[in-house]
């Protein structure tokens, strides 16, 4: 299915954090534990999907010269609505995410999807793309958050995994740890890609294709 492809591409092949290297700020700032990472991931998933739908719906009436301001207005509206709703019904999560919630407006990945995909596609594919990208973003956030929480705190989702024998290096849940973890993940992904390519080339050469 084509739609299924639109959805899955955001998970690994075009993962917003690790492949497109967009929205690294929240990936650094709110991934010190899995709970916050997941909360932020789901919020972004909601915003990106709604925005893709709205941009795709109005794509034919938006003047190309002012499309970016209009997209930003759309994103800002959705984020504000999300904030108001969270504040009213989930005040604790609202407090946890703090300032990063309002920063969702300027997350590059949301504007990028609006510009690259939603503005050129019909509503349903745009929605699926938003869901996929949001899921990929959430996956990335949870991966980083999980690694950082396990190494830096010895726990996962608040559940203590490693006993008192383990002395967590605090730096991993501080900002530098975010940089280091993201760097290592991207490095590992590139390395595995390179190895795969080399292997393919080798088998191709062995097959006598060159």
């Amino acid at each position: 299915m084509n739609l299924w492809k639109e959805f899955t591409k955001g998970l690994i092949a075009e993962n917003p954090i690790f492949r497109l290297a967009l929205s690294l700020c929240p990936a650094l700032a709110v991934t010190s534990n899995v709970y916050n990472a997941l909360g932020m991931g789901l919020t972004v998933m909601f915003v990106i999907t709604c925005n893709n739908i709205s941009v795709s719906t109005f794509r034919n009436v938006i003047h190309p010269k002012v499309r970016v301001p209009v997209y930003i207005i759309s994103i800002a509206t959705i984020v504000t609505v999300a904030m108001l709703v969270l504040e009213a019904f989930l005040p604790v999560l609202f407090k946890e995410l703090g300032i990063y919630l309002s920063l969702v407006v300027v997350f590059a990945i949301i504007l990028a999807r609006a510009e690259v995909f939603a503005a050129k596609n019909k509503v349903i594919p745009a929605m699926v793309d938003g869901l996929g990208m949001g899921a990929g973003f959430t996956l990335g956030m949870v991966t980083i958050g999980g690694i950082r929480e396990i190494i830096g705190n010895g726990s996962f989702f608040g559940y203590q995994l490693l006993g008192s024998w383990y002395h967590p290096p605090l730096i991993v849940i501080l900002a530098p740890g975010g940089f280091i973890v993201i760097g290592f993940i991207i490095g590992a992904m590139n390395l595995s890609e390179k190895r795969k390519k080399e292997k393919m080339e080798k088998t191709a050469a062995a097959g006598g294709n060159i």
Binding site: S32, N36, V70
Partner: protein, 186 residues
């Protein structure tokens, strides 16, 4: 309106586009705000009262102190139990806002953080009982922060010295202010 004729009246269309987008956005936000604002307000008051209640569980009423912003008297059957003082102190990242509870003879009962931007999982350890309980029963003269445990002093949270210091200083300032206020009103 189609894409083909936008050159003729593009100025008009641009204006219309932006105006409509902004108008629509304004309407949506206004409607959502109209619906959620009362609920959020109730939640806020509830959280504030709850944090006051958590500090002084026995109290039955909280009345604001005149002339002081966000200062409260916690009372039970007309008898003064404690003072609640809003303190704000610069932490690792932005201000830590908290309620400081103090007995009428200016000893710490406890504190409750209302808002902060400290590092999750690290700085906010300074708001948990392990650190917070050290303040109980101390006057401001005894509030001294040390990194390595020492009898009668406040031991900072590992790796969160700055937040620990912010909490300690916030409480200290609140108590000093309280003493000043009580001396003046005597």
């Amino acid at each position: 309106m189609t894409h083909t004729d936008h050159n003729d009246n593009s100025m008009f269309r641009i204006t219309l586009n932006l105006t409509l987008a902004a108008f629509l956005s304004g309407v949506i936000i206004a409607v959502v705000f109209y619906l959620t604002a009362p609920i959020a307000e109730i939640q806020r008051i509830k959280m504030k009262e709850q944090s006051m209640k958590e500090l002084i569980p026995e109290a039955t009423s909280f009345s604001p102190i005149q002339g002081k912003e966000e200062w409260f008297k916690a009372e039970k059957d007309g008898q003064l139990l404690a003072y609640l003082i809003l303190a704000s102190e610069k932490g690792f990242d932005g201000h830590v806002k908290m309620f400081v509870g103090a007995t009428p003879d200016q000893k710490v009962i406890g504190f409750k953080v209302l808002s902060h931007k400290e590092t999750p999982g690290l700085g906010d350890q300074a708001f948990k009982p392990k650190f917070a309980d050290q303040f109980t029963g101390k006057g401001y003269q005894q509030l001294e922060l040390v990194k390595i445990q020492e009898e009668g002093k406040i031991t900072a949270v590992t790796g969160a010295t700055i937040t620990s210091r912010a909490v300690t200083n916030g409480i200290k300032h609140a108590l000093v202010e309280l003493e000043k206020y009580l001396n003046e009103s005597k």
